[in-house]
């Protein structure tokens, strides 16, 4: 892989990518140990499990996979001594278009993940864990498996870890090319050796009826890696890097029409969208102007250049007031992007300039969702394909007068009517492209 880690930008704070960006850093355990590796695990094994969960809660760590659920709260759903086996499954199925951070962690710093996972397992009484890696990362699966064997040989995994009496086995499980497996219940079905049809919630919340119908935590690769740093620096220090309710750093993956695409580890809420595009990523290509931004992976609703949002913020007298915030002044944290009607999601920021055709871009995403719908729920199986066929036809033959209306109707009849969030994921692009760029559809009407 080419390195996407030049000298850190002043806005960056590399915690997760701190080691990876050091010259000569390699994924073997000796290198990791030479960089302070497994010290957080040693510290954790001397603590009470509940204290570790409290630290993760106090750190305001939110999941980095897309849904942004508070990690500490997720862990506390597991009752430590309920007498049942518990599992942690790490979601390394990284497939959300626009997202490319876990790839580098898995290939270049696997022990960071293993250490975070061992701490998480100790906190939640887990003795068997799987790291689910998409099969399009064949080298990562080998690297992580080698790292597991190294850690076991050094006593950081296996029986009686570092003399603590705590046992943990970790295995790598490879996917087989299906985006839906990134959905946590689908991932569990896949890990059980079945077709990865998502499970309905309730009752199948992973924390209650997860892997093998036992309490299970499913966390993203980056989320688990943060745990080690929360222990190392203390939750207050960690939380302080971010915004209230969105602690620490978040890796923003920027792709599309910018000068320097790449991933940038930035304190949560530490940059505005404008700073990210123009400062961190070196701006747009010469002579181009901004047209659209998808801020959190392809499922996040698109934003249009020039938009102004009403965002609630604290006024000078302490009361909440509506403030007009232009697109480029939005801070890249969970709460702000939610208030702007979209989401920070998996941190995948896709930038499109004025040379781009929005119907073409939507059609590209519609084809993705049509290909990846698992087919379990009718609205999504049929609807994602219809949306894709309609946008393809608009591109090929021009639009019929009612195409836009029909597209919206199809999307509106998927979102909220499916077992898993793929229904929303596939309808939000169509809904938001139609709402934000109606002119591009209208001008194609024959």
């Amino acid at each position: 892989m080419v390195s996407l880690l030049p000298t850190p930008h002043p806005k960056e704070r590399r915690i997760i990518f701190g080691n990876i960006s050091k010259p000569g850093y390699s994924p073997d355990i000796e290198t990791y140990l030479a960089h302070g590796g497994y010290e957080s695990l040693k510290k954790a094994l001397g603590m009470k499990p509940a204290e570790i969960i409290d630290m993760v809660k106090a750190a305001n760590l939110r999941g980095r996979g897309g849904a942004g659920f508070p990690a500490g709260a997720k862990w506390s759903f597991i009752k430590y001594d309920d007498g049942k086996p518990h599992y942690i499954v790490v979601n390394g199925d990284e497939s959300e278009p626009g997202t490319f951070k876990d790839r580098y962690i898995l290939h270049q710093d696997p022990h960071q993940l293993i250490e975070g996972l061992a701490i998480a397992a100790f906190a939640t009484n887990v003795h068997l864990s799987y790291i689910y890696i998409r099969c399009e990362f064949p080298k990562a699966a080998k690297i992580v498996w080698e790292a597991i064997k190294e850690a076991k040989a050094k006593g950081f995994l296996g029986k009686n870890i570092l003399g603590s009496g705590f046992d943990l086995d970790i295995y790598v499980h490879q996917g087989a090319g299906a985006y839906i497996c990134g959905e946590e219940t689908s991932l569990l079905e896949s890990l059980e050796g079945k077709r990865p049809y998502p499970r309905i919630k309730p009752p199948y919340f992973p924390a209650v009826l997860g892997l093998y119908m036992k309490p299970t935590i499913v966390n993203n690769v980056e989320t688990i890696c943060h745990v080690k740093h929360i222990l190392a620096m203390g939750p207050e220090e960690y939380a302080k890097m971010g915004t209230p309710g969105d602690g620490g750093t978040r890796t923003m993956c920027v792709s599309g029409d910018v000068q320097r695409p790449g991933f940038y580890e930035i304190p949560c809420g530490g940059v505005t969208l404008g700073e990210l595009i123009n400062d961190v990523c070196g701006g747009l290509k010469p002579g181009r102007s901004l047209k659209a931004v998808i801020p959190g992976g392809s499922s996040a609703k698109v934003l249009r250049a020039g938009e102004v949002f009403k965002i609630k913020s604290k006024g000078p007298d302490g009361t909440m007031v509506d403030k007009d915030v232009p697109l480029l002044d939005l801070t890249m944290d969970a709460a702000t992007l939610q208030a702007a009607g979209t989401m920070v999601g998996s941190g995948g920021v896709m930038i499109m300039d004025d040379s781009r055709d929005m119907v073409w871009a939507l059609n590209n995403l519609n084809q993705f969702y049509a290909h990846e719908s698992c087919g379990q729920c009718t609205p999504c199986r049929e609807g994602s394909l219809w949306m894709s066929k309609v946008t393809t036809r608009i591109l090929d033959e021009g639009s019929r007068t009612d195409d836009a209306k029909n597209l919206k109707n199809i999307a509106d009849n998927i979102a909220g009517r499916t077992i898993c969030a793929f229904g929303e994921a596939c309808s939000w692009p169509t809904q938001s492209f139609l709402a934000k760029f109606p002119d591009e559809f209208e001008k194609r009407v024959k």
Partner: protein, 178 residues
């Protein structure tokens, strides 16, 4: 398009003790439920034989105390698995937005032309092999997001990620895999 998949011999008749030992090792990673080993065994099989024939699916099912349909339904669902021989080198070009913005459609067409595959030929999934050239040296297909959008356009060629591909790079890239 060629039909080179030999369906007369059974892959399961050609198993070695080493292969079986490797399969047993994979099954041991799933102490709670053997069925969990179905994807790992399918990967092992496909990596070894190039595709998975009916005897393979039957063998894996028997190994895991399942019926063959439990395995067939996986092979027909997951895009990675195939029931036909593919090219010796498989070029998987990323099709999704960031790569498309960076020119992946042109890149895929150029790869097809460079190895002698009709660019209009699509991969239909459901266990079929991706479009393959007549001497069986290359397959080329579009795949969805490979999670490398920062170095778009990219392709996964066998186990290698090839990044920032420009049309002019393609002859040299293809040459490396000949």
């Amino acid at each position: 398009m060629r039909a080179m998949t030999d369906m007369k011999t059974r892959q399961a008749d050609a198993l070695t003790p080493e292969f079986v030992a490797e399969a047993d090792e994979l099954v041991s990673h799933y102490p709670v439920s053997k069925r969990s080993a179905s994807l790992p065994l399918l990967h092992l099989w496909q990596n070894h034989f190039g595709f998975i024939d009916d005897s393979g699916m039957e063998w894996i099912a028997a190994k895991l105390d399942l019926t063959p349909i439990n395995i067939i339904e996986l092979v027909t669902f997951y895009p990675w698995f195939r029931r036909e021989q593919a090219g010796k080198t498989i070029i998987r070009v990323c099709r999704t937005l960031a790569c498309a913005l960076a020119g992946s459609y042109q890149v895929k067409d150029n790869f097809c032309q460079a190895v002698g595959i009709d660019p209009g030929c699509e991969h239909h999934g459901f266990g079929h092999a991706p479009p393959t050239n007549t001497d069986g040296s290359f397959s080329v297909e579009f795949v969805e997001c490979l999670a490398s959008c920062g170095s778009a356009p990219v392709a996964l060629i066998n186990d290698d990620l090839v990044e920032n591909i420009t049309p002019s790079d393609i002859p040299a890239i293809v040459e490396q895999y000949k």
